[in-house]
Amino acid sequence: MIAGEVTAAPSSGGVVEGSTVEGPGVAATVPEPQRAHPSYHPEVVHGPLSVRALLRVDEALRLADAATGLTFSVYIGELGEDSRDTAQRLHARLADPDVSVLIAISPNERVLEIVTGSRARKRILDRDAHLAAKSMVAAFSGGDLGGGIVAGIAQLADHAGRAPSDN
């Protein structure tokens, strides 16, 4: 995703868009991993976030990944009728789902799903995820998608704590 420059570090975020996921009532767009610098991926400009919000989300993702050792990702798009199932399907497509955290948001359906992998949920308890979700939803209901995402990532990363290797 927005990385400031093309020569961004390998840990810089990325935006994905492309093929369609099969599922009950689902028309979700899923990723083809790629860089999301606006000059190379103009679709980002037509995405749900402003450039400023993209930069903030990018930084939040990078900081959360570096601090926790978990893999955070944010999906913004339609989730369909069974939003939980769709979010879990998307989460399962990540490289290492067990240590991944997916934040799936459907602005039009006003649905938020946070999915944590089997190992990630031991560090981010469901209760903690629920608290983060409440905080995010409060921002979303005020129309602040970017702010809600950044706040949610920060909260989830705080709850996850430092990566085990740092201890």
Binding site: A95, S118, A129, A138
Partner: protein
Amino acid sequence: MSSDFVRMLVILIGIAVAFALVLAGLVFAGGGRRSKRYRPGRPFKFTPVWFLSAPEEQSRAGIARALRAATLGGRPTGPRETGGASDRW
């Protein structure tokens, strides 16, 4: 009614009308420019996106292959134990 009074009346009404028109123009122009902003309850058109923290690593790990399998109708992975939360606004 003197002509001065009528002229003054016309000027005052003209100023008020002009002010209202300028205000309406600004509101209309602003609404058009900021229509991309998300407002809960209103239709919000955008290109779906998925932000990954490390797309290169995801790619190396085979997410692209998983996606190709998904488009062919297969499920890339079995059910996993997951946690998290759901909410609405």
